[in-house]
């Protein structure tokens, strides 16, 4: 059975989908990705769909599921590289990728994850009054 490769780059896992997704490959990808996030402790997942000509409701749901799983494991998911034709089709069909962040390309996706991560750390510092008082 074909598997989707998952690459680790720094603090980010990169998933590049190059083949048509079937039920089985989708489930396999979800399992693999969850394991890799736990194993590596990464805080970001980038899913690259540049090679996909068609994004239907099935692929859309798969992306949403992956985003939710990653969220539970404290990793931010960004979908990158959606083609114009795909975006137009999704809009015409009335499908929206709820809860999924998107970026134009992998580079922007990495920036987005880094920015989100920085925001989160700032918030944690702000929320914790001891952190500031403890260090004079």
């Amino acid at each position: 059975m074909e598997r989707v490769p998952i690459l680790k780059i720094g603090d980010i896992l990169l998933v590049s989908i190059q083949l048509d997704m079937s039920d089985q490959t989708a489930v396999q990808l979800q399992e693999d990705l969850a394991e890799r996030i736990v194993a590596t402790g990464c805080h970001g997942v980038i899913i690259d769909i540049t090679a996909l000509d068609i994004v239907d409701s099935f692929v859309g749901r798969m992306l949403s599921t992956i985003a939710s799983i990653s969220k539970v494991l404290d990793a931010e998911t960004v979908v990158v590289g959606m083609r114009p034709a795909v975006a137009i089709t999704l809009v015409e069909l009335g499908l929206s990728l709820n809860g999924i962040r998107t970026a134009l390309n992998v580079e922007r996706g990495m920036e987005l994850i880094a920015a989100a991560r920085a925001d989160e750390l700032d918030h944690q510092l702000d929320d914790d009054p001891d952190a500031e008082t403890a260090t004079p």
């Binding site: 959606m82 114009p84 137009i88 999704l90 929206s96 962040r101 134009l104």
Partner: protein, 286 residues
């Protein structure tokens, strides 16, 4: 409707025999109907072409516009109507050039006064009607292709995507936005976003005369599609009347940023990007 071989022969003989008289009279009638907008010499050349084509077709046997040997006649008629259509003449002014032949024939047939004169004239006049209809058809076809060409040119020239800043592109929309144009704008904008890797797009609607629910729908679709791809859209150039219309129609732009002018939109995007614009001390001439 077509003439049989015998009638065609008689028509060819009639027209061929009085060539000079026919072209002269025919040109005069057409010239008076066009009131001097085409030179006499040019009209005469056109009429001679037609005359030659009709006589030629008649000598070759039964005149039937759809037949093989009438190709020259068809070409002459098409050329005449194409020329007239491009020069901006009306349909009446074009077809009258053909129907003028009826008057010419009436004179000729009256002059000959043979037993079959009436029968011949009716047959000839049916043929002229057919020629006139053919001319009208090709006139309309030429006009339609002119309109189609113009619509296409309009589509090409009116949707540029310009780069305003590093990572910021703008689409200044000008003119009414129908479905076809909206589609072109949407595709071009999204493609530019991918090509340039710009995360921000500004859609400027200063040049859109009216915004109804359909136009708003097109703009919203573009914004949603851009968001799916990971880019943000800002709508700018909303004139006061347009703002009132939007509210009156109950159109919801949701969380899409809208700005009054392109400058405001650019400033907004730059601030999001973390670019600060500061005014330097203006130069003073002492």
């Amino acid at each position: 409707m077509a003439l049989n071989a015998e009638e065609s022969g008689r028509l060819a003989a009639l027209l061929g025999g009085h060539a000079e008289q026919v072209t002269q009279r025919w040109t005069d009638i057409v010239a008076s109907s066009l009131r001097g907008r085409l030179s006499h010499a040019e009209l005469r050349r056109q009429v001679e072409d037609l005359h030659r084509a009709i006589v030629g077709a008649g000598e070759q046997g039964a005149i039937d516009l759809s037949a093989e040997h009438a190709a020259e006649l068809r070409a002459a008629l098409s050329e005449l109507s194409r020329g007239r259509a491009r020069q901006g003449f009306s349909a009446t002014e074009t077809t009258i050039s053909i129907f003028a032949l009826k008057d010419v024939l009436a004179d000729l047939v009256q002059g000959s006064a043979t037993a079959d004169a009436l029968h011949d004239y009716v047959a000839f006049s049916k043929l002229v009607d057919e020629l006139g209809l053919f001319t009208f058809e090709s006139f309309v076809r030429t006009r339609e292709s002119l309109i189609a060409d113009q619509a296409e040119q309009l589509l090409e020239l009116s949707t540029p995507v310009v780069k305003l800043w590093e990572g910021v592109v703008a689409v200044p929309l000008v003119g009414t936005l129908d479905s076809a144009r909206a589609q072109v704008v949407m595709e071009r904008l999204l493609q530019t976003l991918v090509d340039t890797g710009s995360p921000y797009a500004i859609i400027d609607i200063t040049g859109v005369p009216a915004v109804d629910t359909q136009v708003a729908q097109h703009i919203l679709k573009t914004v949603v599609a851009a968001r799916l791809m990971g880019a943000d859209c800002i709508i700018s150039g909303i004139r006061p009347q347009i703002a009132q219309t939007i509210v009156a129609l109950g159109i919801e732009f949701g969380d899409i940023a809208t700005k009054a002018s392109l400058a405001d939109a650019l400033r907004h995007v730059l601030r999001l990007n973390g670019v600060e614009t500061a005014r330097r001390q203006p130069r003073r001439d002492v």
